[in-house]
């Protein structure tokens, strides 16, 4: 069902520089050439009846309600499939058309249940609307003919056409008895999502919608993106929440809190209750599409595990004690002050998260810098995209992706490296697939055969199946081919890049050791494939590189990012639409949290704390002296904690105990601290080591902004009151006040006003401006009042682009007899990050445990069968997961996800990290895998500890119950 507030214009918008003038119902209308008659009419406010058309889908012409009369043309052309022509004269309402439409509606209703009053679509059903519009008063065929409506035929026998409801999907129900066979669901699955899970089965009157080979939805290839549900004009595909609650009464635009695509949604509400989330067609990042997480997996916000009261305890072995907010703030302030007075000013710090809003993150770093008086602030981007910030700043001059998502519409060659968009960035993955189906070429560089390599109507032209840890080697071999085969865009390089750096780089990559042939043994990639891919990227037209954590989370993460920027510069693939360097950000606000100065060495806008002018600006605004020395990064904090010099930590929205590498090292550090304050929705893994718990608010409960992977700042809007009383920024503000530092923002917009005031790239940003434009891509300032979709257009942010030398240095994490396999980690579509949110939704029906993916050959050697317990041991630790035999893997490489804390994926990962930014080397861990019969010791300890902590929480909650108060 469409959103309750959006207008659907029937066919997709057409971009054309020429316009056409025509007459519709006597009204003169001018529209872009190529526009359909239907859309032209809709733009003029003339509504033509229709059922199979939607502006999300290509015209189809099947329902035959939108027929019109056109002067000089025979018959009754369908307005959806007829493009406008100059001087065309269209009549949308004539007696003949009225009869025709009534005749068609009469047919529809002769095969449709008459239960409108009790139907979930009641009040917002397109079929119902059309029956009203055409004035259908009678169905002369009666209702006892062939139908899909009734389970039994008049004679009592089973109706062979009837198909019972399919309620297998946890989020929506498929009721074929209400289907009008318009194919909108099928087309949405094909055209929008690109999964091709649905089809029309059978023909003629027997035509019916089927998932895969007539499977239940849950058992089919369906990825539960919901595009079909949104496209359905009747109640055939309805959200279960809509069925339960009825139609919403108002709608609020907000931004998804899952991945870095940053989809815009309309939260359809009944008061403060969400009926359903509908992707916003005007959303610039998602254009009305969504994935299973954003659309459906929001139940965590009202999950019983939410903690709604502040709690404190002296030791982590004590039961939690429920306290008032004031008591909690006073306690934290007193503890932090005590620690600072005992151990020094540097003994405390804060960690913010990419899940927080910009305003929240800004306040956390301000709290640390201004109220704690040090620079010990870091963010979880440390463990994901810190190399992007470093690498792109060094080469291009700005720590951000260069394009908007829509740029891909102009791309001829898509190069995906270390990213798995169909799982981790599904909505952009779908847009990428649309472009690939339209003919763009594809190069995938990934150790695994990710879905994109072979998916319906798409096949990668090159899949460079490298060995984990050899990204830089492969990128250098690509550069070698480009340089040695004369494929450099010399004029671009000459006009846009530093000549000396380029000359050095050229000589560097031209070395024979970087030839694909010389590197083949190390990378595992046949030289011919490297050469082919390099030629395609360099000469295939607009080439765009998309990368993810498979690039950054390595010992040479920053080097790989620079190597990518080098490739783009050398081939002139930067500075216009269709090209560029595009980091796909894992979490919703990775870009924003970095922009907001959450790294220990940078103020907002990537300005070093050592820069006197910048520091002076902030000192003046904030009214306190600020330190010019960078503070501690997250791993340094752990080291300092174990050294006894860092003992107080404020963590907002980040679960370091699960997400950071070498879990046992992390938990040892946490155990060493004296006051850990966790602000979160749930008692997460870190909170089990905390002394203070401050209940946070979900994205539905507060105002603010998120900045997605394309630098797009979008509004998060409060649709319900915070369950614990405060938005997160208010909690930080209260904490600052308790620490004695004045903060007095009445609304999140005032925080953004301060950010804009102090950050040149944000000068033009305000909540009002975002409301006007829908969203804004920074830089947004005097030079770019409407933001900047594509960066580095005429010159690089740093002036001339700088080629950096990218020596391949093999990681110290090497396979040997003891640890002969490489473990790499990643994500799956249905789960998100540490799973705190998605594990508390029905998404667990698709993925309820992390599995170890292993190639059949490696499994066979170890006597491991699918589903067996597999023990995984690295030099850091060991854990046990059930095996999943998979030919996606290459022999020698195993893979797992890290969505469940008990999996212990990070017990295995090591302390190795990127040389420049300390981003952990999650993607390469040498391991041995053996068949085992029980969980690992760590897992046993973990479960015992978790049970104990749950018990301590339960004690607090029962103490808090009214009977005991």
């Amino acid at each position: 069902m469409l959103s309750i507030v959006e207008i659907d214009y029937g066919t997709p918008k057409v971009a054309s520089s020429t316009t056409v003038e025509l007459m519709i119902d006597g009204q003169s209308i001018r529209v872009p050439a190529g526009t359909s008659v239907m859309r032209a009419a809709a733009q003029a406010g003339i509504s033509i009846p229709r059922l199979c058309a939607s502006e999300m889908l290509d015209a189809f012409g099947s329902c035959r309600l939108c027929l019109v009369e056109i002067e000089g043309r025979k018959g009754y052309p369908a307005s959806c499939t007829t493009p406008v022509t100059t001087g065309m004269k269209v009549s949308t309402q004539t007696p003949r058309l009225a009869n025709l439409r009534r005749g068609v509606m009469e047919l529809y209703i002769s095969d449709h249940p008459l239960d409108c009053l009790t139907c979930p679509a009641n009040g917002h059903c397109e079929l119902q609307d059309m029956a009203g519009v055409v004035g259908l008063r009678e169905v002369r065929y009666g209702y006892d003919g062939a139908n899909h409506v009734y389970a039994k035929q008049p004679d009592g026998s089973a109706n062979p056409l009837f198909v019972a409801k399919d309620a297998s999907n946890p989020y929506f129900t498929f009721d074929p008895s209400k289907c009008i066979a318009c194919s909108r669901c099928v087309r949405a699955c094909d055209e929008v999502q690109g999964t091709f899970a649905l089809t029309i089965q059978g023909r003629g009157f027997e035509s019916k919608v089927a998932a895969s080979q007539d499977n239940r939805f849950l058992d089919s290839e369906c990825v539960s993106c919901g595009a079909c549900v949104q496209a359905c004009p009747t109640a055939t595909l309805s959200e279960n929440t809509l069925i339960d609650k009825g139609q919403a009464e108002h709608s609020v635009v907000t931004t998804c809190a899952y991945c870095g695509v940053g989809c815009s949604f309309r939260a359809e509400m009944k008061g403060e209750d969400i009926v359903r989330m509908v992707p916003n067609k005007d959303g610039h990042a998602n254009h009305g599409h969504s994935c299973v997480k954003g659309r459906f997996a929001i139940g965590y916000a009202s999950h019983p595990d939410r903690i709604n009261t502040p709690m404190i305890r002296a030791k982590i072995s004590d039961p939690w004690q429920v306290v008032s907010w004031d008591e909690a703030f006073a306690h934290v302030a007193s503890e932090f002050k005590r620690i600072q007075s005992t151990y020094g000013k540097q003994a405390i710090g804060g960690i913010t998260s990419s899940r927080c809003t910009n305003e929240e993150t800004y306040l956390v770093q301000k709290l640390v810098r201004a109220a704690f008086g040090n620079n010990n602030v870091d963010t979880c981007a440390r463990v994901c995209h810190s190399p992007t910030g470093y690498g792109l700043k060094a080469t291009l001059g700005e720590s951000a992706g260069t394009q908007d998502f829509d740029s891909i519409e102009q791309t001829d060659v898509v190069l995906v490296i270390g990213a798995n968009p169909t799982d981790a960035h599904p909505v952009f993955g779908s847009q990428m697939k649309q472009r690939l189906r339209a003919g763009a070429k594809l190069i995938v560089i990934d150790p695994r055969r990710i879905d994109l390599v072979r998916t319906p109507h798409i096949k990668a032209d090159y899949h460079l199946k490298l060995k984990p840890g050899t990204n830089v080697a492969v990128l250098d071999t690509l550069a070698h081919v480009i340089v040695s085969e004369g494929l450099v865009d010399e004029s671009f390089v000459a006009s846009r890049c530093e000549p000396e750096a380029f000359a050095k780089w050229k000589a560097f990559v031209a070395q024979e050791k970087y030839s694909p042939e010389a590197m083949e043994a190390q990378t595992g990639v046949p030289a011919s494939l490297v050469r082919g891919a390099a030629r395609l990227y360099a000469t295939g037209g607009n080439g765009a590189i998309y990368y993810g954590l498979g690039v950054t989370e390595h010992a040479q993460g920053s080097t790989a990012v620079m190597a990518i920027a080098n490739l783009a510069m050398a081939t002139g693939n930067i500075g216009r639409e269709g090209v560029g360097v595009n980091p796909l950000r894992g979490q919703n606000n990775v870009q924003g949290s970095c922009d907001m100065g959450s790294f220990p060495h940078e103020f907002p806008g990537y300005r070093h704390v050592g820069d006197d002018a910048t520091r002076a600006l902030f000192e003046q605004d904030w009214g306190v002296p600020l330190l010019g020395e960078p503070g501690l990064r997250i791993p340094n904090m752990f080291e300092a904690a174990l050294d006894g010099s860092f003992l107080g930590l404020y963590v907002e929205g980040e679960d370091i105990a699960q997400s950071d590498p070498d879990t046992q090292h992390v938990t040892a550090a946490l155990s060493a601290m004296e006051c850990i304050v966790v602000q979160d929705l749930f008692l997460n893994e870190t909170a089990k080591y905390a002394h203070v718990f401050l209940p946070g608010s979900s994205f539905l409960e507060k105002d603010g902004t998120f900045t997605n992977a394309e630098r797009r700042i979008s509004r998060v809007r409060k649709v319900m009151a915070p369950t614990a009383g405060y938005a997160d920024w208010e909690i930080t503000q209260k904490l600052a006040q308790a620490m004695g530092y004045p903060m007095d923002y009445a609304h999140a917009s005032e925080i953004m006003d301060e950010i804009a005031r102090l950050t040149p790239t944000f000068h033009g940003v305000s909540f009002d401006r975002i409301d006007q434009l829908g969203s804004i891509q920074w830089p947004c300032n005097e030079d770019h009042p409407e933001g900047t979709p594509v960066m580095h257009v005429d010159e690089f942010v740093r002036g001339k682009g700088r080629f950096m030398l990218t020596e391949y240095v093999p990681t110290s994490e090497k396979v040997n007899a003891e640890h002969p396999l490489i473990l790499t980690t990643g994500r799956i579509l249905s789960q998100y990050n540490v799973g705190a949110q998605t594990r508390r939704t029905a998404n667990v029906m698709w993925h309820d445990e992390d599995r170890l993916e292993i190639h059949p050959h490696d499994a066979e050697e170890r006597g491991i069968s699918d589903g067996d317990w597999a023990g995984i041991r690295s030099r850091a630790g060991d854990t046990v997961l059930r095996a999943l035999i998979s030919e996606r893997m290459q022999p020698g490489v195993v893979y797992t996800t890290f969505h469940f804390p008990g999996s212990g994926a990070n017990v295995i990962t090591t302390e190795n990290s990127d040389w420049a930014t300390n981003c952990p080397e999650y993607k390469v861990t040498a391991v041995q895998v053996t068949r085992v019969s029980q969980r690992s010791d760590w897992q046993k300890r973990f479960h015992a500890f978790s049970e104990e902590q749950q018990e301590l929480l339960d004690q607090a909650q029962s103490a808090d119950s009214p009977g005991r108060a």
Partner: protein, 519 residues
């Protein structure tokens, strides 16, 4: 000196025992130590005489038929190898009046040549059209086809030259020629006869089409139930390739044209050109909306000429003998000849290629020799299952596209199915709706739901009480109008034609209780 005997390998003749006849002749010849060369030709189209065996004699080809294997001994005894007299002797084939009176342009070689022999094809005037076309530029070829007045013989009768020009004018890196050989209309077999009896003429026609519009690749989308045609086409394509008539460099012109046969999906709707293209692309056979026309966005989104077998097979003679030669046949806007396929309740069913203009009555009486049952003709369905039922009062309508439109009918692919007076036209009307219901692709509402409702309403009319008749008939007529005006393609858009014509011309059959008097 061996004696040449022709025994058809046409599927129609085979179904009547031609294979047994051929082997009986071979074994009898061997037994009698007579040197006989058996050539498997196509059918002459005189199906009531099949298997029609022809013997080459100094005075020409002498026909015997219908011949069964058990007649062979007697035929040898009668010295049929030298044109001897026998009860089955028909005299010189060319003098059989049914054949002699025809104007065979498209079918000029069908039944005469060995369909596997490119030499035979060339010996009978084959590839002269291509030779002429190779000397012309593309626009001149298209102009010749336009000037000939040739219209699409698949049923829609769209001017072929205009279609080709549209495709010629579309610029693209790749264009296609697609032959619609998914012949599925009831009572039609002209396409099959050509493909089995003279496959090179189709190949030549498609090659010329390729030159005319700049297409380098062609597909023949062949009805799945035509295995003999498949073998004949594939053999012919292989010889044409081997001798440089197809391939990277057609006849040394430097221009490529390749051809492939693709077996169809076994659905009537896949004979509709846009469904055909979907099916050819490997997708579900579902109708596309137009525009865009296939000539601009056709197969795989590329400009595509899609024509029926007979249309394409008529092109070589136009290029060979000139547009005027072809245009001089026919009447009004219907130029050239139409291969008419007589079927149904007729004494002499068969293929009649004649210039447009003769009447339906001439076809039925002069060629068909009246009904096989001997009862009076009551209705004639022209143009396949979607064609109107024509009453005896309209039998003088000339075979002409516009004349048929004038009586609410259509010529379609030239199928003529005759019914005697035992026919129940309500049953026939119901069948039309049922056919549509079975064959509908299910895309558009009027056809998908309407055809099923149509069957139900006709059932009610037939079963119902008299009082309800008027109400039901009004509903049926409304439904027909909705389907006519609202359907996406010709299946739903024309299925009402037989229904309405039955209602209009034979209302007495819909009176419910009253069965037709003659039964």
């Amino acid at each position: 000196m061996s004696i040449t005997v022709y025994v058809p390998c046409d599927a129609g003749a085979l179904s009547l025992g031609a294979e047994a006849v051929a082997s009986a002749i071979a074994s009898e010849a061997s037994r009698r130590a007579v040197d006989v060369r058996i050539v498997r030709n196509g059918s002459r189209g005189l199906y009531w005489l099949e298997p029609l065996v022809e013997v080459v004699t100094p005075s020409g080809r002498i026909a015997y038929g219908p011949v069964q294997a058990e007649n062979i001994g007697a035929l040898f005894d009668a010295d049929f190898l030298h044109g001897g007299e026998h009860a089955l002797a028909l005299g010189a084939t060319e003098d059989i009046p049914y054949l002699k009176s025809q104007q065979r342009l498209t079918f000029a070689r069908v039944g005469i040549v060995d369909p596997r022999s490119l030499d035979d094809y060339r010996a009978h005037g084959g590839y002269r059209g291509l030779d002429a076309a190779l000397a012309m530029d593309a626009a001149t070829i298209v102009q010749a086809v336009t000037d000939s007045g040739l219209r699409g013989r698949g049923g829609a009768a769209f001017p072929t030259g205009i279609k080709w020009k549209t495709c010629l004018d579309a610029s693209a890196d790749q264009k296609y020629i697609v032959c619609n050989a998914d012949e599925g209309d009831s009572g039609t077999y002209a396409d099959r006869m050509i493909m089995e009896g003279d496959p090179f003429v189709l190949i030549e026609g498609m090659t010329i089409a390729g030159l005319a519009v700049g297409a380098s690749h062609g597909y023949i989308y062949l009805r799945i139930e035509y295995p003999h045609a498949q073998r004949a086409l594939e053999a012919a394509i292989a010889s044409a390739e081997a001798q440089g008539y197809l391939g990277a460099d057609v006849r040394g012109s430097g221009r490529p044209f390749r051809l492939e046969v693709r077996m169809a999906a076994g659905a009537y709707i896949c004979g509709e050109e846009t469904s055909l293209l979907e099916s050819l692309e490997g997708k579900r056979g579902q109708v596309r909306f137009k525009p865009p026309l296939p000539a601009i966005e056709g197969l795989f989104g590329k400009p595509t000429v899609i024509n029926n077998v007979v249309t394409l097979a008529s092109v070589p003679i136009i290029l060979d003998k000139g547009a005027a030669f072809y245009r001089d046949y026919g009447m009004g806007r219907s130029r050239g000849t139409l291969p008419i396929q007589l079927a149904g309740n007729l004494r002499r069913a068969g293929l009649v290629e004649r210039a447009f203009g003769l009447t339906l009555r001439e076809l039925i009486e002069d060629y068909g020799h009246g009904t096989a049952s001997g009862r009076p003709v009551r209705a004639v369905q022209v143009g396949g299952p979607l064609g109107a039922y024509i009453p005896v009062s309209q039998l003088d309508t000339p075979i002409d596209y516009e004349a048929f439109l004038g009586i609410g009918g259509m010529l379609g692919h030239g199928g003529v199915v005759v019914f005697d007076d035992s026919v129940d036209m309500a049953v026939q009307a119901r069948y039309a709706m049922e056919f549509c219901a079975i064959e509908s692709c299910g895309k558009c509402t009027p056809c998908r739901i309407g055809s099923t409702r149509g069957v139900e309403v006709i059932d009610r009319i037939v079963a119902g009480d008299h009082g309800e008749r008027e109400r039901h008939e009004a509903l049926l007529r409304d439904l027909c109008q909705t389907m006519l005006d609202g359907s996406l393609c010709a299946l739903g858009g024309m299925a009402p034609l037989p229904v309405l014509s039955a209602l209009d011309h034979f209302p007495e059959d819909f009176s419910g209780t009253a069965q037709h008097a003659a039964v």
